[in-house]
Subunit: 642 residues, 2 copies
């Protein structure tokens, strides 16, 4: 390996020399490439090509370098080296590395690998994550990424890995303002926020949104075992902070453990009579170290307790360091996580140091301790769920990519430069994937329209999507037409409007039976990446399928959840049940239940549709009318793009 | 003053001795009072009475004590004393005090007063806050309270104080689980969470929910001036953390300042060509201290910039302490807040120490820095709004307490043990306060009913609230009755139902014109405290008025906001506009506007009603139907209690 730190324009020539010496890898620390603008981007491209030709793998350019504790290698310009440990960490920002490294020195957190990725001209996160998943020296993977190179493929890697390791990802730039800052930073564009959030949740990846949070999450996963359940006992020498901890646990989805009678009885022997034995267990302000140790040890044996948070305030006689020492010895005797929170500043620091030295995840903020515990719990729950056969097989659907009956027809429409396929094609693919459609007729012939409507009154008449994109804006949608007379009048009125708006001489109209409304949903899809997103090595996460409350309240309540393709039926159901409108489908306050199953079938149909036709850039079923037995797609709009 | 720390049962006798010596004040550190149960509560009551008789003011019992820097007094059993400063701090938890004190020693934060309140047998938060508001040595007030003794009066004190000082309140116990912990802690009950939250927001009190957050808020308000606006410049030596800071600022309601051309031009002179001049300003990883100082100084003069966040990562040649020193000198030249965030652990600590020594609010978490800045900004905005004549006079309404025309009648109903006043009384007070009611008739005579309905079809028929409390459960509400035939049938059916359910022999029914629906709201009120809540010295916050989306979606979307009595019209409007359903009232997506004004008038009428009749424990207008011109209270339920 060579490590290069000379001005950008000379780097390629060094690579060529190195190739002659059969060098296999290069770290280019030098800046002055893509991040500086067009000229730099050109030099970077050249460098990447040179490396490729020479068979040299390239880390960088524009990196801090790489530290590999196991092999005692520090090829970086970091001010110091890492402590040895089992966390593999990568970062697209060198400065993020230096901050993380400094934190780890203070709190004794150890790394197996510590890599600055820089401009990712060759090696990117997938290479490293793939490698680290297979390396037994790695227990936890952390990644700070401003841009994800190949979304779909990252997810595939995570899904298919045999050894499930916690992967913690921090991706900033989720506000529009931050996106501006990113493009001026490493020249990469921030991907779709919602696709990212859905992707990582659905695949059991852990998200961090603050530097310290990421640090503590890595600490938690490296030093402790996730709790088996969410029932937490709190041991404290202070009532107030006990209450605060309770609030925080509940807010973060954990539960206060119901401590068993036997445990209470046992603990009671060792505590003064005024101590509270209800959870939180208040060992009282004059507790010495031993009065902490005993209840902790007893609690670890209570099968109602999955984890313990120990809260310490530095009172007059509190034995801070001694308590830390005893917590260490208790923690070593159990698999249940014991997370101490030492509240204070000057006097508590030495106590915390003792805990860090012995690899006990320890905290100064109650919210940090509870956050890590809760994330570890949720992580293990999600992993359990991902291990189900149904979820493991969710990607099967991707085998059918671009295999729709009408794929050629769709491509033809694209070639013609159309952004929306014809009404007929839309109906065909809707029927192909099994969407439930209202009976309808598209025709320019009044007699045909009248005949169709004969046994269906009341009916709805509207313009086709080709004619007018946003129907309600131009008076091109008519509801509740009850008889042939009205239908005739409206037919003439509508065709006149379409002629005026679209310059079509003899326009078609669409007639449908009118469904008696029950609850309106909106179901849509939106593609992150291009139409080749499901092909190996392309960027983007693929199609996000969104669903939630439709009608007038759509924009008001924004009650929308999503899954990313591929999603299993169970994942669709889980996400759908997170919408508030699903309470109505389930029959809120004694109302009739509507067909949740048919809504899920519709989501499945949409997944099938975008897989068969990845040319679909976005689509809307709006509204989907849900009745007791059906989920009918009243109106379908599809936009296509390569 | 005497300071007593002997077993609880002997304290009263010491007080008696002290009285003979003309002692004026006592601090009782001893525990073993109310917090231990009934017996302790009795001793505490006795102690309070002894003190009162002797004319001795009592702090405690069950306190850590009190520190008063100005007079060099430390009457506490804290392990050390505070640094002198301008923050007055009180806490109901002694342990919270010790943690806060330890934090303050580490970060050099100074206090004028530091008081542990304990069981509040005599002196409580109002005494101290009142005193501190008048004391020029105090700039900021912090209070950790598990229970607020006199809600209405605290708000009055804050409203009427001439010298507005930031008051930061931390009140834990907002989850049901935490409330259990509180009652076992100091034996006090947690008040209504929502009333508290509304009360403090509406009166410009600042809320803290984490110990560290409270500490940093006190630091911010003590050491810096609130920013005049929300436009923030970020100066950083690292792109990644700059992006994270941007995300955090936007998430917390701040804006990225648009730096003026002149400023950019000026800064450009001093930075290397690759440095980014767009906000965040990236001074690049090799920045020495001086390259931080220059842009900071220039930015403080830009009128588009209200505050600066300085982000530092410890890179190889970063001058951490020197940069801190220069930030101090820059900060001393301007009123605009400059908040440094030093990211890291081991190497950054000395830099932070220099900042703390010179009273620069400095942080290790980006979220803490932005949180304090954003809270200070919002605080000054709310204070501006509270200074308006309308808001200053909002309490005028309270002069009419218990002066309703029907007050005596209401009291009679209470004496009779009734929980709901008669339909007639409800209608009378509804008309008295000016609620918009549908035309209606209450009668047991079919002919009278038919006559009333003659020119009003369609009509609604229902049971009176006296007859059946929850109408829809027992088929006692009939809509859309279109003709006398149907009306007659339904009249008989309903009276039969009422007889069966309520055992009334000849029941009344209620007939109303049916309003053509537009949007349904729910408007209600709920009293915190007893019916004497508006009288001096009583506990509770008074009536909370709640309003939001009504109908089937009420429980689903929980789109409800609130004001606390007394509220100005402007405050009602502000809260109403926070509901999502208000977007519909304002005409979402080109729909017709509905009468927002009439909704506000209804809220005002409800405020008038609960002030005239504080016997009202709770009430519901459900639904309130809002049309283009009216807000009609279709159904009114009132519950009364002393």
């Amino acid at each position: 390996m060579v490590c290069i730190a000379i001005p950008a324009s000379f780097v390629s020539s060094v690579i060529k020399d190195a190739a002659k010496k059969k060098v296999e890898a290069a770290i280019v620390i030098s800046a002055g490439f893509k991040e500086t603008g067009e000229k730099g981007a050109k030099i970077e491209k050249e460098l990447a090509e040179t490396c490729k030709k020479a068979g040299i793998r390239l880390l960088g350019p524009n990196v801090l370098g790489m530290i590999c504790s196991k092999s005692q290698l520090n090829a970086s310009f970091a001010a110091s080296t890492t402590i040895e440990g089992d966390i593999a960490f990568l970062s697209q920002s060198g400065a993020f590395c230096t901050a993380m490294l400094d934190m780890s020195l203070e709190k004794k957190l150890g790394f197996s690998h510590f890599v600055s990725l820089g401009n990712k001209a060759d090696i990117h996160e997938l290479d490293l994550i793939d490698y680290w998943q297979k390396d037994d020296a790695v227990k936890v993977i952390g990644a700070y990424l401003e841009e994800i190179s190949q979304g779909q493929e990252l997810l595939q890697l995570v899904r298919e890995s045999d050894k499930k390791k916690p992967l913690i990802v921090f991706k900033p730039g989720q506000s529009e303002e931050a996106k501006k800052a990113i493009s001026s930073h490493t020249g990469s564009m921030a991907g779709s926020t919602q696709a990212f959030k859905t992707a990582i949740y659905q695949n059991g990846i852990i998200e961090a949104t603050e530097i310290n949070q990421m640090f503590y999450l890595m600490m938690g996963f490296s030093w402790a075992t996730p709790p088996k359940g969410n029932r937490v006992a709190v041991v404290t020498n202070a009532g107030g902070p006990g209450i605060i901890t309770t609030d925080e646990l509940i807010a973060q989805g954990m539960q206060m453990a119901e401590i068993s009678k036997e445990t209470k009885k046992e603990i009671k022997k060792y505590l003064p009579p005024t101590a509270s034995l209800d959870n939180p267990i208040d060992v009282i302000g004059d507790a010495l170290a031993e009065r902490y140790r005993v209840p902790i040890d007893i609690l670890t044996k209570d099968k109602n307790v999955d984890a313990i948070v120990v809260v310490l305030t530095p009172q007059l006689i509190t034995q801070i360091e001694e308590t830390a020492k005893l917590i260490v010895s208790s923690a070593k005797l159990t698999d249940k996580p014991i997370f101490p929170v030492f509240l204070g500043g000057k006097y508590i620091l030495n106590g915390l140091q003792r805990l860090y030295e012995k690899k006990i995840p320890s905290f100064r903020y109650i919210s940090d301790a509870v956050g890590v515990l809760s994330t570890m719990y949720k992580y293990s729950k999600i992993q359990e769920s991902l291990a189900s056969a149904e979820n493991r097989n969710s990607a099967v659907v991707l085998k059918h990519t671009s295999k729709g009956k009408y794929s050629k027809q769709m491509d033809k429409e694209l070639e013609k430069g159309k952004e929306t396929p014809s009404e007929e094609l839309v109906e065909n693919i809707a029927r192909e994937v099994g969407l439930d459609l209202p009976d309808q007729l598209i025709s320019r012939d009044l007699n045909e329209v009248l005949e169709f409507a004969e046994d269906k009154y009341p009916v709805v008449v509207k313009a086709t999507t080709e004619a007018i994109a946003h129907k309600t804006d131009v008076d091109a949608l008519f509801l509740n037409i009850k008889n042939p007379n009205d239908l005739e009048k409206i037919f003439h009125r509508l065709t006149k409007t379409i002629k005026r708006e679209s310059k079509i001489l003899k326009p078609e109209v669409l007639v449908q039976e009118q469904v008696s409304y029950r609850e309106e949903l909106i179901i849509g899809a939106s593609r992150d990446g291009a139409s080749d997103v499901y092909i190996h090595g392309t960027p983007g996460f693929g199609h996000l399928i969104l669903f939630g409350k439709g009608g007038i309240y759509t924009e008001v309540y924004k009650d929308i959840e999503s899954v990313l393709v591929p999603a299993s039926k169970a994942q669709m159901k889980e996400a759908l049940l997170k919408t508030k409108v699903s309470q109505i489908l389930q029959g809120v306050r004694g109302r009739k239940k509507l067909s949740l199953d048919k809504v899920i079938k519709t989501i499945q149909a949409i997944q099938k549709m975008v897989v068969l036709y990845p040319q679909i850039k976005s689509l809307d079923l709006n509204p989907v009318v849900v009745t007791e037995k059906r989920a009918i797609a009243l109106d379908i709009k599809i936009f296509i793009e390569n």
